[in-house]
Amino acid sequence: MKIENPPAADALPGNRLRAHNLSLRYGERVVAENLSIDIPDGSLTMIVGPNACGKSTLLRALARLLPPERGSVVLDGEDIAKYPSKEVARRLGLLPQTSIAPDGITVADLVARGRFPHQKFLRQWSADDDVAVTNALERTNTGDLATRYVDELSGGQRQRVWLAMALAQETPLLLLDEPTTYLDITHQVEVLDLCAELQESGERTIVVVLHELNLAARYATHLIAMRDGSVVAGGSPKEIVTPELIEKVYQLPCSIIDDPETGTPLVIPAARNRTGARCT
């Protein structure tokens, strides 16, 4: 089937990206059962949870890379499996956790590959593509790397280049799997600022898997905490981040204070010699 334009947002029953009762597995290994999730339109949604709890798997399912065993992912009111692949790629972008750069490719070429879903056989490159690539390079501060080879970059530079590629795809929905790995604190904040900017300008809905709890709580408009393949809590960080939740999700005793900068919750792990002590 072919769906040219998304139906007007107000005509839709609910949000653009939702998942219903997903059962996800790799071969015999079950990762999630009956997982339901709703990504609020226009939000900056952050997903947190311990290693191997299924965050990447969920993201892959949301981006139709992993067909669910049961349940469905709904994009714009329609099962995502029913769309042509390129059509999904014009609405929803994904930056996987690990990516391989082909040997000998330059930064500009790599970022340009993000334009694929917008290209046609006889119209492979347009002025729009130029603008998108240039914007993406600028926004990620990688403009001066454009002619360098990707395999000659530092880990952090590489990460930003991949992010630029995902941005160049210019999708209203963007899923980022740990986009701040390898980045120093300045660049972490820069990337998250960029996500916040994109979200605030109303351009995009962004879903980010993040390990940095405090940054997640600061930037997220919607926070989802996962454990063992299921959603433990979802809501605004101020409401849901409590010592009980952190204990439940991470099994980490801690106290919570207000971030002096923003007033968002700040998780302070309990000191080592007080590990057994109750949370405040």
Binding site: S99, I100, D103, G104, T106, A112, Q124, W125, A146, T147
Partner: protein, 356 residues
Amino acid sequence: MSAVKTARRAQAAPHTAARLAWRGWSVLWSPRAVLASAAVVLVALGFALVQLGVGDYPMSPGEVLATLTGNRGEAQEFVIFDLRLPRLLTAGLVGLALGASGAIFQSVTRNPLGSPEIMGFTMGASAGAVAMVLVFGGQEGSGMAGALIGGFATAATVYGLANRRGIQGFRLILVGVAATALLDSLISYLLLRARLQDAESAYTWLVGSLNGADWQQVQIIGLTVIVMIVPVLAIGNQMRLLEMGDDLAQGLGVRVKPTRLRLLLIGTVLCAGAVATAGPIAFVALAAPQIMRRLTGGSVSIVPAALMGALILIVSDLAAQRVWPDSQMPVGIPTLCIGGTYLAWLLYQQSRASRL
């Protein structure tokens, strides 16, 4: 006709890709790849002119051009059109097909040693042809039939065995290698069992030869190349995205499994055309993409690799005819020597420049 427009460089981000645009049509190419490809074409045309001129009946380049445009006598026309041009075209087209096929396989397997040979087609074809010739006392054309049957049967077997919920580059390589090794031993054995004379002519075919190439050969390989042009150009972009991993490619809207199957099919058909025309000429498919990659500085891509393949074969065929003029030396031999030495030299050059 078409204008090369570089993307707006004034902007903050200089773009290494250039746009080849004409009205609403546009193709994205890196300027270095375009330059290198153009250079390869020019050099190939130069060699082509030489090759049309030399032989038992030498002609100057001017004379050759005049004959080609129909301004010379019958003798010249016979030499050019009936003897030399078909052979030249066969060489060029076979090279195109092999180069393109090699680029496709190296991309799909993400391995510089990946080549159409891993699909088993080449070895299957060799075994089929040799078996036909040696066991069934092959007549005219039976070798080619044997080659095609053996080639496609092997390729299908390899694909079937490597396919387990989708094809994975690594598994394909391993199955292909197993099939190739098996057939290789079989061929050696067949050669040993045959009469010496039969074995020698079979060996010549195995090396790959253009001796006696005429317009019929041009038709076979020409048709293959023409039929494949559109699919090859259409799939280039998807192929490049697949190199970055299945997840990312799928995220960008590539349908991974059908695309990969299509790529393998295109690569195999191109290789089949070449083998049916000139025998299993080795190494062009491996060398052409790697040589071109090193000249253009980008990743492996189809069209430049194809052009380089054509150049290698044209030069090799010239060498085959000139260096051993009386011995009917099969073109596969200078191909191996020239391709191997040139790739080695490039590797050496680049190791000194410390960039792989």
